[in-house]
């Protein structure tokens, strides 16, 4: 019978791989790339930045959301009437499809909708009031929350199957968000404009972003659960849960 020490010994032996290029040159290469990257990156002017373009390290939320969403480009004129375009900078290309009410197939009706508020304090003083729930539809339970800046808070939820999602919130005027992918969808859920990105490999939702008043909210599987399925019905039920308790309604 293996002991815990035996397991460690076996695993270390199995994964000890000879590293072909471990020397000081790696350090030099990394530092050279860092230096080159910093010198090659001039500080963007206000004109270059524009309302929806990326500014390096501007906010934590920006980086998180950019990693999720990327940069599209939609003529702002085409989307002038679409409320989310007030909060998200679209420069350039027309998206596929047109925004409109969405008919959701499936079992939203079967998902629990009770979402009591919690008063768990964030670990950083915030410049806004986040909306954190102890539970979300689909069996998601709050496991922890974190705030990396006064304008961003993340709440992590896990369902009984181990799928972990993160809900990121922040005041919309503090976020800069641009989208680099063309395969997004702009749609409406329960009267709310929502931007959806899908994980085509799994036919699931990779990211959903919507606004609630002046709050920008995004939900996605965490990187830990990146290969798991956040199905469309669950994503939409989560959006509806936020809507149901929105102070704007």
């Amino acid at each position: 019978v293996l002991t815990s020490d035996d397991v460690g010994r076996l695993l270390r032996a199995a994964y000890a791989t000879e590293r072909p290029h471990a020397d000081e040159r790696v350090v030099e290469r990394v530092m050279a790339r860092i230096e080159a990257s910093e010198t090659a990156r001039p500080a963007p002017t206000a004109k270059q930045r524009g309302p929806g373009s990326l500014t390096w390290r501007s906010t934590t939320v920006l980086i998180v959301l950019l990693a999720l969403i990327g940069a599209i480009a939609v003529p702002s004129s085409s989307w002038a009437g679409f409320p989310l375009s007030r909060l998200i900078g679209f420069d350039g290309v027309t998206p596929k499809g047109t925004p409109g009410p969405r008919v959701i197939p499936g079992a939203i009706g079967n998902l629990p909708t009770a979402v009591p508020r919690t008063t768990v304090p964030p670990d950083t003083p915030l410049a806004f009031t986040p909306r954190i729930f102890e539970m979300l539809p689909g069996g998601f339970t709050l496991t922890r929350q974190a705030s990396t800046s006064p304008t961003s808070v993340r709440a992590y939820y896990e369902d009984p199957d181990g799928l972990e999602v993160v809900v990121i919130q922040g005041p919309a005027d503090a976020q800069e968000l641009s989208i680099a992918r063309e395969d997004y969808e702009l749609t409406q859920v329960d009267g709310t404009d929502v931007l959806l990105l899908r994980n085509e490999a799994f036919q699931s939702i990779a990211h959903a972003v919507w606004a609630d008043g002046e709050l920008l909210i995004a939900v996605r599987p965490t990187s830990e659960s990146a290969s798991r399925h956040l199905d469309e019905a669950s994503a939409i039920a989560i959006i509806m849960a936020f809507n149901a308790t929105s102070q704007d309604k």
Binding site: L10, V26, V30, R57, A201
Partner: protein, 219 residues
């Protein structure tokens, strides 16, 4: 009598001190972090990707991204698990980008001459070290989330808190995963040992059948 105290050498500083100095803008401190953790990070990425050459590139990319995100490092003492969490994200993004290629590569297994270089490397390694292949095969048969917890606990030597930070899950979940992973590993290792004694497993064919999951266990 005046006593002169010289500043400690970089190599004598703790990881937390180096990370703190790097976060305050010291490139030299960050260079020492690269020097100190490049091997451990490379091993982790080689485990994730199954491809040593790719691990070289991913290691460099991870350090560069870490440098660019140093302002997001809340606790300098937690630099290492934070670094690993960045490495995991980079590998996952890379893996998703090349998923289609990997699937095609896997479809060629069995035709040895057409194996991609990374798989050839593993095949040679497996033929040389059957027990090592068996252990990797057992790990690959676990759920990906359990695989990572097992690796971080036993190979990287992480505590529950560090696993939690690296996997971006709660400490309780990290503890549970590491425990479950170890139990599953022991169970399957014991089962395999029993089967080998009965002569029903452990053949070259069976090991070869494990190759897809060994090389690309994160798919």
């Amino acid at each position: 009598m005046a006593i002169q105290q010289s500043a400690p050498a970089w190599e004598d500083l703790t990881t937390a001190d180096l990370a703190s100095a790097a976060r305050n803008g010291s490139r030299e401190a960050f260079g020492w972090l690269v020097r100190r953790y490049q091997d451990q990070l490379w091993q982790f990425l080689a485990y994730q990707s199954g491809a040593p050459q790719l691990a070289d590139d991913l290691t460099q990319t991870t350090f560069i991204q870490a440098y660019e995100r140093l302002d997001q490092l809340q606790d300098p003492a937690a630099f290492v698990p934070w670094l690993f969490s960045i490495a995991r994200r980079i590998w996952q993004m890379h893996h998703r980008s090349y998923r289609a290629n990997i699937l095609i590569s896997l479809s060629t297994l069995g035709e040895k001459r057409r194996l991609p270089a990374a798989l050839v490397h593993h095949q040679q390694e497996i033929e040389r070290l059957p027990e090592r292949a068996t252990v990797r095969g057992i790990v690959a048969s676990l759920k990906p989330s359990l695989q990572d917890a097992l690796y971080l606990r036993h190979v990287a030597g992480f505590s529950d808190q560090e696993i939690s930070a690296a996997l971006e899950i709660s400490v309780a979940a990290a503890q549970k995963r590491a425990y479950r992973a170890e139990i599953m590993f022991r169970k399957r290792y014991d089962e395999l040992g029993t089967a080998e004694m009965e002569g029903s497993s452990g053949s070259e064919d069976n090991l070869f059948a494990l190759l897809p999951t060994i090389s690309h266990s994160k798919s």
